[in-house]
Symmetry: C2
Subunit: 298 residues, 2 copies
Amino acid sequence: MSLVTPFAGHRLDRADPIRHDAERLAELRQPNARLLRLEGLIPRLGPDQRVQWDRLGDAPEGADVVFLGLLDGEPLFAAVPTDGDPDPAYTRRETWAAIADLPADELALYGGARSLLDWHARHRFCANCGQPTMLAKGGWQRDCLACGAAHFPRTDPVTIMLVEHRGPKGSRVLLGRNARFPGRSYSALAGFIEPGETIEEAVAREVFEEAGVRVRDVSYIASQPWPFPSQLMIACHAYADDDALTLDATELEDAQWFTRGQVIEAFEKGQESASFVPPFPLAIAHHMLRWWLETNDG
Amino acid sequence: MSLVTPFAGHRLDRADPIRHDAERLAELRQPNARLLRLEGLIPRLGPDQRVQWDRLGDAPEGADVVFLGLLDGEPLFAAVPTDGDPDPAYTRRETWAAIADLPADELALYGGARSLLDWHARHRFCANCGQPTMLAKGGWQRDCLACGAAHFPRTDPVTIMLVEHRGPKGSRVLLGRNARFPGRSYSALAGFIEPGETIEEAVAREVFEEAGVRVRDVSYIASQPWPFPSQLMIACHAYADDDALTLDATELEDAQWFTRGQVIEAFEKGQESASFVPPFPLAIAHHMLRWWLETNDG
């Protein structure tokens, strides 16, 4: 079973050669070219619940404009808002409401654009020397004219893992909740991959740090671009031989092993009767649990 | 066959709780604690060809110091050099010479330390407001006191792929060379994963951009932290049904399909008689090719 994750599946031609061709870029920047309609970083949808396009000529004066790529041969642009997301990891209700019903390809287009725009809005200065930087390569780079440094959009790899224990109680998976989760919500453990470690090492470290559990046989499941602000979620499966938990209270409010039956119930029943509330469908953790139900026979 | 990659396999306890505990950190920062011996970013080895440790009290006055973690319970530190690497992607001969014979765990320790130190040296200012930032959390964060932004070390995910074509000529893999490679060297194609795409989408995009080849059935092989400056190399395999090449001359000087026999020859014979020079053993591409020889029967 191959996992298709939300925020994947864009239909853009990223047209890398155009980014490097200032003349071609200038030709494409016609006043009637398409400009993604946003209010800050939130998409303004049409009555059909799809993303809308303004004209490039309508971009605020002086705004940085990024070239998203070509869609069916037509160039798409977006304007960098004045402010980035002040709390990018826990974004606002209005964003979720706006994107809940977008078709997959538009969700992916929006997600990629959002990450790029938010990066520009929060990275207007050179980290090397402190001077202002200028947008370059159609928005896929920022250049410092003072010290010559080039800066690139961030994509931060994060591991998210389904740890499985097989024992007398059958197969169970480890899910946790932190204090910011809504009531009774549990999800897969996750954490940023650090310099100097592999994906597999990061999985083992995170599970041990957060839950005190040693894992073996880490395997890759799927990946997902997550635009709050710009993570690459790397989903893995791993086995634990010992199910004793020692929780890191600063990371997790609770963590528990859930049986196949409890996971099925959580998806099928409402919040009231199930033993936990599963992650929502935009999260890769939701699809990891469904993948586990499909591929594991209990 | 599971791949163990160079720069993986560190033995550090990254001791995340200590990073967040200023008091504990201060206790560990004793003048006689271990400080990694570096000249700039290059390790200064002992006569035994292993990394050496100075005392924390010997760190240059005013230098930022990072807490690498605990090794066998003992805290390890390293001092941020004045300058980062001016050309971090193509590092200097002295570095390769210094690390060529390090044992795997020390190579991994050095790699992780190097990425972190280079990031600090090249990110002393706030990208959000341009003011100087201060090292925080033992070196795993930098804080801006002016605007309140927190900044984290970069880890940039890169896909590197072995594209395979099966046809009348047997199984062949696609390798390319760019103009900066030494003569007749070929390696796996590679490229940064961008905001808004999955690992699998990035693989397909890169191969099409660089070589004009469409791929299917992308699968994950292994990962490697690469400290020049701080990539996470994500190795994948993919199939191509059409072997026609259209090269992007700005990325590749040449690309060719190589047979199993040619790859075996490249590893076994010297430079003179083989059809190409394979990637060196520190590169994950070297191990991807060996993995392919092991798992593919031609």
